[in-house]
Symmetry: C2
Subunit: 232 residues, 2 copies
């Protein structure tokens, strides 16, 4: 399998391949398959579990989890350079999570047998996988604590800042979040409702901290947001 040179950088710079020689990386790469998902498409769902693991080359992937009682929690936004559904190497079922492409996305996928062989062949690959898994677990622990300890507004501030760091660009108006982010999504990410998010953004709009429209958020005063996120 060849890789588009545009994505090559993302692949080779990923922490996942730190310390692994280029020709070994190419071996790993050559055993995967390219897949593309359009914005809004679903990679796998609670009732249709992941059978392969995916490396994100481009785009943003949203991992969320649906509760029986109807609510949804966004667990992570996955950036290019990260791996998802590594669990599929070990378990066929039992990964009750939805993965959805937020932007058009390019990925590489490996099925479980191939990935397992690669893991045995390249111990450093597994070590890197372990490290990135621990890192993302720690991030979730932090968010778990915040969900427990902080009021909604503070969590929304933190969420905006996290998303800003992950996926934004400077514009003349401020820092624009570069994907469609509705009130509902932000609510799912912070553990609240779209109404509370709307009210909060409304106030912050009047403060001059953000400018927001339909599925579109610009942060005009990041400094104020940071201070609010930290002090509550």
């Amino acid at each position: 399998m060849n890789i588009d040179s545009h994505f090559s950088d993302t692949f080779h710079r990923s922490n996942l391949f730190a310390g692994i020689a280029i020709k070994e990386r190419d071996d790993i790469l050559s055993q995967g398959h390219h897949i593309f998902f359009k914005s809004g498409e679903i990679l796998f769902r609670e009732d249709n579990p992941a059978l392969r693991c995916y490396f994100v080359l481009d785009g943003l992937i949203k991992l969320s989890k649906l509760h029986e009682q109807g609510r949804r929690a966004i667990i992570y936004y996955i950036n290019p350079g990260e791996l998802i559904a590594a669990i599929s190497v070990f378990k066929e079922k039992d990964y009750p999570v939805t993965a959805k492409a937020v932007n058009d996305a390019a990925l590489i996928s490996w099925n479980r047998e191939i990935m397992y062989k690669l893991m045995l062949k390249y111990p450093l690959l597994v070590i890197n996988m372990l490290q990135t898994t621990i890192d993302s677990k720690n991030k979730l622990q932090t968010r778990y604590l915040e969900l427990h300890a902080e009021l909604v507004k503070q969590r929304i501030a933190r969420a905006l800042l996290r998303i800003m760091r992950q996926s934004s660009q400077k514009t003349t108006e401020g820092i624009l979040i570069t994907f469609k982010l509705s009130r509902q999504e932000l609510a799912d990410y912070t553990g609240t409702t779209l109404y509370t998010v709307s009210r909060t953004l409304s106030v912050w709009g009047k403060n001059g901290w953000v400018k927001s429209g339909r599925e579109r958020i610009i942060i005009t005063n990041p400094h104020a947001l940071v201070s609010f996120a930290e002090k509550g």
Copy 2:
């Protein structure tokens, strides 16, 4: 290093060593150090990060995280057979978590250099570490969703059931949780306050679902609790 035969079983049956030959396990074991912690003692804290990773032979270890604003969240209870602070292999600092022995505990510890060498020497060890890390991450994801989606009482019910499955024994009165569990601890575990926990247990006591005293909980009607935990 020798291992007490009483703990030998826990060591060798752990998922961590699945597929690894006995003499290899003994090699791994021989490079660690025995450590004991009395009930209530702290293994490491937010301001005194873990420098080694630990394998739990006996006892129960509580991992919690303190929020700047004062609240504490219990992230996991760690049973015998599990590994903690694997992150210390990769990072010296930056594991802002407190680990405390809930019961008297026996552990094996390895420092980072030794553990890293072992990981390179035994690829299957890393694969197993990856698998258990993914598993515990998934559990946290589930609890994150619950914290977002469920009311306090439902979360308390789930927490009691989880703890019961982890660490309990049958008595004539019912299923006794076999470690000191205060209202405050249960609150930290479920994301609420000790007052709400107290009120809830008080009601369930009148219902005949539980019997509770000072740092002591007996579940007298697990069936009712399960049904409540699932339906809310």
